[in-house]
């Protein structure tokens, strides 16, 4: 069976993947980019129904322009589900219900990051969303006009998301950041070396004028009869309630390492291990952006460019980026430190708080296993934690934070897919560039 063959195949059309595509397309190399979303941009530059109403983002426009001009082919709506043969990725095209294969000489993994959820009583109530999750919904047309929204969790994105929600017509009541002010101050000091990032922060702050930003505070519980009505917060000393329609709550980001792990890339501290030139432990496979360590969009752009150059053998040019890549990594490390989880947020869950939503596994079930000997595998085997359709994507990072159990294995398919895709007649389509849509801008 034939498959489409590409000089460079890139998984993920966020900032890292777009930068990689632009770099790798030089000199006429055939480059394809796979992304599960309907358009390029990744989580951070997700295009929305009302994008025109938003202020243009210069970095996004510049990068998108380069990507479009590069001639790389974007295959959107494709989920990579397996890597069953050397040098080939198997994908699933949900919209057309067909399996496809993409063969490559070099592979660049730019799979991004996802939000970390931490369980607290009521977090599964309708009306409670991930912070980034709610933003994505709004971009897809979910109407928040007039809705009272509380924002909570941790990480630099909380403020950005709050600002966007506000621009989309929501009434943001407050932002509760679990990190204490002292930690954030030292992070801000580090930022002084990076005026661009300060400006971004200032512009956010101005659109959030009047919204309380409470550091050192976190949710105790969300309440409501079938639908969120209020959230109780604490700063460790006192408690207060906020009546609201929606809670947007996320605890920073965790790298998407499922595909790299499936391909056998070595991991280190939960991230894909790369050298200074974005090479993973697997030959011909590079990794760029958040999977190598959450460090934000600037790091992703630089790493993506470096990976793209490496993939077409322009090592010297990639080396020129190394110092800046390392500097952005330092920023990521400072950010991780500033927003590290305090012990209290690891103790928010009650015995009957659900941790694994797919399999309804409660905190108490897992706590009972936490005897110092048990592992993620025991939790899976004995309690089904992480065994549902999401394969531990949601609960895995929470369980790791709560109990220190690391997800030990990734099994195909990475995403659920119809059984027919595994059969010998998977309606494979191998013909088409016609399937690729260039509709980026």
């Amino acid at each position: 069976m034939s498959s489409q063959h590409w000089d460079v195949l890139i998984v993920g059309a966020g900032p890292a993947g777009m930068a990689a595509a632009a770099a790798a397309s030089q000199g006429g190399h055939r480059v394809a980019v796979l992304d599960e979303n309907p358009a390029a941009g990744g989580q951070i530059w997700r295009r929305g129904w009302n994008d025109d109403e938003h202020k243009p983002d210069a970095a996004r426009q510049a990068q998108t322009g380069k990507f479009v001009a590069s001639g790389a082919t974007l295959f959107h709506g494709r989920r990579v589900v397996a890597a069953l043969a050397q040098g080939v990725l198997e994908t699933w095209n949900d919209a057309e219900n067909v399996g496809e294969r993409f063969a490559y000489d070099k592979l660049i993994l730019a799979t991004g990051a996802r939000e970390r959820f931490l369980p607290f009583p009521g977090w599964t109530l309708p009306g409670v969303f991930g912070a980034g999750g709610l933003q994505a919904l709004v971009r897809n047309g979910y109407d928040v006009r007039g809705k009272r929204v509380a924002v909570a969790g941790t990480g630099p994105l909380l403020m950005a998301i709050a600002a966007h929600l506000q621009e989309d017509g929501a009434k943001v009541l407050s932002i509760c950041e679990q990190a204490p002010l002292s930690q954030l101050v030292s992070f801000a000091t580090a930022l002084l070396k990076r005026p661009g990032k300060i400006l971004q922060g200032l512009s956010l702050r101005s659109s959030l004028r009047g919204v309380a930003y409470r550091t050192g505070s976190w949710p105790v519980a969300a309440y409501g009869a079938g639908q969120l009505e209020k959230v109780e917060f604490t700063d460790g000393k006192r408690r207060w309630e906020v009546d609201c329609d929606l809670l947007a709550c996320g605890f920073h980001l965790v790298p998407n390492i499922e595909l790299p792990a499936l391909l056998g890339c070595a991991l280190e501290d939960g991230c894909v291990r790369v050298d200074a030139l974005q090479r993973t432990s697997v030959e011909h496979v590079f990794c760029a952006g958040e999977p190598t360590g959450v460090a934000g969009v600037d790091a992703a752009l630089l790493q993506g460019e470096a990976a793209g150059l490496m993939a077409i053998g322009l090592t010297a040019q990639a080396q020129k980026l190394s110092a800046r890549v390392a500097s952005e990594r330092g920023f990521g490390a400072a950010m991780e430190k500033a927003f590290r989880l305090r012990t209290e947020v690891l103790q928010m869950a009650a015995k009957d708080t659900i941790v694994c939503r797919c399999e309804d596994v409660c905190y108490g079930d897992l706590k009972a296993l936490a005897d110092g000997q048990n592992t993620w595998t025991d939790a899976k085997l004995q309690k089904r934690c992480g065994m549902g359709p999401c394969q531990g994507r949601v609960c895995g990072p929470a369980v790791e934070a709560l109990f220190g159990w690391k997800n030990a294995s990734v099994r195909p398919p990475i995403f659920p897919l119809p059984i027919s895709a595994l059969s010998s007649e998977p309606q494979l389509r191998t013909d088409s560039n016609s399937a690729a849509l260039q509709e980026i801008q």
Partner: protein, 354 residues
Amino acid sequence: MECARAGLRVGVVEPRVPGGAASAAGMGHVVVMDDSPAQLALSRYGRELWQKMRAALPDSVEYEQRGTLWVAADGEEMQEVYAKQATYTSIGVSSQVLDEKALAQAEPELRKGLAGGLLVPEDAVVYPPAAARYFLDEAIALGAKLIRGVRPVEAAKGIVRLQDGSALSAGSIVIATGVDTSLVPWITVQPRKGHLVITDRYPGFVHHQLVELGYLKSAHKLTADSVAFNVQPRQTGQLLIGSSRQYGDAEHDVDNKILKQMIDRACEYMPRIRDLSAIRVWTGFRAATPNKLPLIGPTPDPTVFLAMGFEGLGITNSPAAARLLADHLLQRESAIDRDPFLPAHVFRGESAHA
């Protein structure tokens, strides 16, 4: 558990995860299997002990008396249905012949035109890792010690040496290491690789453990790779779809070619399986012995006993094997003839091969 219940002081050495190897990979089908008189006796005994334990099993073990439905595709396989029923009847295992119509009623998702089947109503389905953990917890409650996270490197003459340099002494050592024969390298146990697919939840899609009768033709060959239609309903509403058998592949990776054959076979019997959502595919290894029977009992070293080589029937036979083994250790009479499972046959067999 059997030894602890018999009042013995028990230590269990587990280098990784209890119930984490073949038990975690297998289907958990409790089935009376009639491919040899010895296997028939052991699996019937195993199923009987499961039935006796049933009331005591925690919910997590998910014991469900689903019954096995052996599916006959054509007239030839229908002849096997009758032969199989005669065998079961001879040892008091009840079964029921289904014709084409009755089969379609019992399992509406099977394709039309299948000849019929044999329903063995008392066969069951369990969740093996939880069962293994239950046996272990029962033993621990009776004073057994779990020594976890360290690999045994040698077991002989009443001493088990662990990788960390420590040693345990015991009057009797039971080796129950599945396909891992590193402690008993003179034993021939071949890993026989299998694939399984689990789906999302579709309650009521399948009611019985379904196995094609062609399975008997394919599953018990000693050499060639084979696939068979084998679908199991889980308590969660999920379906486990199997099965494949391969020798000579010791890699955990999914084998694309045999996976496709396995899925094709399943879709042949149950066309709408194509449209269900698969959430995971994995592989595991059955511990296959040359004579297709497990090894249960003493070895030339009077302190070393074996309980391994169960191939696809580990979960069915585990309570029976444990009972037979405790009978050996305590010099008790056994409920069934334990001679066919004696490791001594293998030692004799080995000299014959030489």
